[in-house]
């Protein structure tokens, strides 16, 4: 099945018909946003476009924007049902965090009326906004970065930093692939992946759909903190990887991993090292020297592009000039 047929199957029938008519390259498609009673927007090649009822892309604000295709509540419900394979209950834990990850590793953000219980989100009812973010495996994007992360034969524990949508997961995924396969003279190594949201491996029935190389062991859907511990204890990895460290438990598990002789490969939200340092838990890890390298990306306007690489003390090792 072609990529177009595959990604289009996330959507319910009404929206599917409109998207089918678009002349877009899947590789450059970043997001599709649906909001009840409001126009359909897509993010393509780092720009936002409205979609007309005839299936044409128009710039918001242009004359054609009055003809934008409006999404109905039923179409949005159909899309949520279809994307979850009619099994919304199976995503209960993820819905509490506001998203579901579907086949292919694509993340679907949800907003609507939240149902809370004792201060915690139980579920989201009356879903009124859906943001489909497409996961693209960009093979080779980690190649220019990898030499700066090595200290002889050893991989330095690395934190990849960027704002949401900046390409952290894409870079992390490719670094895992390169480490697992081996690159150049560097032999492949065992990589344990705690893939809580299923975005790294895009596992389907436990098997990664993305190429993570022959030496990657993926714990799919498992909370990061728990997953990192389990992998270290059971799979004897040389490298452990996790996406979006944030909570105290995640960072404790990361510290535990680094103290067990494993190299750590992780990502975190932020726009600079200084911003990350403002978070007490990260500051603690930095003080303890858990991370030897920081890879800072340019941000969502230039998704996936590296701005600079710093060592554990914050000194710049490599800087890419903006252009």
């Amino acid at each position: 099945m072609g990529e177009r047929e595959e990604w289009i199957r996330i959507f319910g029938n009404g929206i599917r018909e409109v998207l089918k008519g678009l002349s877009v390259e899947y590789e450059k498609l970043q997001e599709v946003r649906l909001r009840t009673g409001l126009p359909l927007f897509i993010r393509y090649e780092n720009r936002e476009y409205g979609v007309t009822a005839e299936g044409r892309l128009v710039q918001p604000g242009s004359g054609d924007s009055r003809r934008l295709r409006v999404v109905t509540g039923e179409e949005l419900r159909d899309t949520v049902e279809c994307a979850s394979s009619y099994s919304l209950y199976a995503y209960e834990e993820e819905i509490r965090q506001g998203f579901i990850t579907v086949r292919g590793g694509h993340r679907i953000g949800l907003a609507g009326k939240t149902v809370t219980d004792k201060g915690e989100v139980r579920t989201i009812r009356y879903i009124s906004s859906v943001n489909v973010r497409f996961a693209h495996q960009v093979k080779g994007c980690g190649l220019p970065v990898l030499p700066f992360l090595m200290d002889g034969d050893r991989l330095c524990s690395t934190l990849i930093i960027s704002p949401p949508g900046g390409g952290k997961t894409t870079l992390l995924r490719d670094l895992i692939r390169l480490l697992s396969w081996g690159a150049g003279d560097m032999p492949g190594r065992n990589v344990g992946v705690a893939d809580e949201r299923g975005e790294i491996g895009a596992c389907y029935e436990g098997i990664p759909q993305n190429d993570l190389g022959p030496r990657a062991d993926v714990l799919d859907g498992c909370p990061k903190a728990l997953g990192l511990m389990m992998l270290i204890r059971t799979m004897t990895p040389q490298v452990v990887a996790a996406d979006e460290l944030g909570s105290e438990e995640d960072l404790n598990a990361a510290e535990y991993g680094a103290n067990c002789g494993c190299s750590l490969l992780a990502t975190a939200h932020g726009s600079s090292l200084d911003e990350i340092r403002k978070k007490a838990a990260f500051r603690r890890l930095e003080t303890k020297g858990v991370f030897d390298r920081f890879v800072i990306l340019k941000g969502s306007e230039r998704a996936g592009q590296v701005k600079e690489i710093r060592d554990g003390e914050g000194r710049i090792l490599k800087e890419w000039i903006s252009g």
Binding site: R9, F11, G12, N13, R16, D78, E81, C82, S84, S85, Y86, S87, L88, Y89, A90, E92, R122, T123, R125, E205
Partner: protein
């Protein structure tokens, strides 16, 4: 001679008709029990393995034999096709495709309603839907089991009596 042959044929036909209705009654109980088993398997898959509906129907279909097993696998296949339609529509089409179901009108309505509710909301809701349908199935099967002996005797005896009456009348 012809009259005698005719009488024998009428009696055989009447007995056959009685047998048919009696067998259909038993098949109805058997079908309800198979449905109950399907719901049991779905319950296990959904509540304990957190499987999606597709996986749940597929695995349940693998373990079940006969028409229900085929039906379950067909539903899994249709979900896997991801045609963009609502699950309720898939369920309705697949239940409609089941030919000559030995179910009463009410039982068929319950079966359709069960599928319409499935997959909706959280696991607690799934549990309630599954338990409600299990209860409906159990109640229907129990009621039929109670009537079984009486009904089978009636189904076998009544056509035979009617046949005998017809033969006597003709003679």
């Amino acid at each position: 001679m012809i009259k005698t042959a005719g009488a024998v044929l009428v009696l055989l036909g009447a007995a056959g008709l009685g047998n048919f209705f009696s067998a259909r009654f038993s098949a109805r109980i058997r079908f309800l029990e198979e449905l109950r088993l399907l719901v049991f398997f779905l319950k296990g898959e959904i509540l304990y393995a957190n499987s999606s509906l597709k996986e749940a129907f597929f695995h349940a279909g693998e373990r079940l034999e006969g028409e229900i097993g085929v039906f379950s696998q067909k539903v899994a296949e249709r979900i896997g096709e991801r045609q963009g339609m609502a699950f309720g529509q898939i369920w309705e089409e697949e239940t409609a495709a089941l030919k000559n179901l030995p179910l009463s009108g009410e039982e068929f309505c319950q079966l359709k309603e069960f599928g319409r509710q499935l997959g909706y909301l959280d696991r607690q809701m799934q549990e309630r839907i599954l338990l409600l349908y299990l209860e409906q199935l159990e109640r229907a099967a129990d009621s039929l089991r109670e009537k079984r002996r009486e009904a089978c005797r009636l189904y076998l005896g009544l056509p035979l009596a009617a046949g005998l009456f017809f033969v006597i009348m003709v003679y």
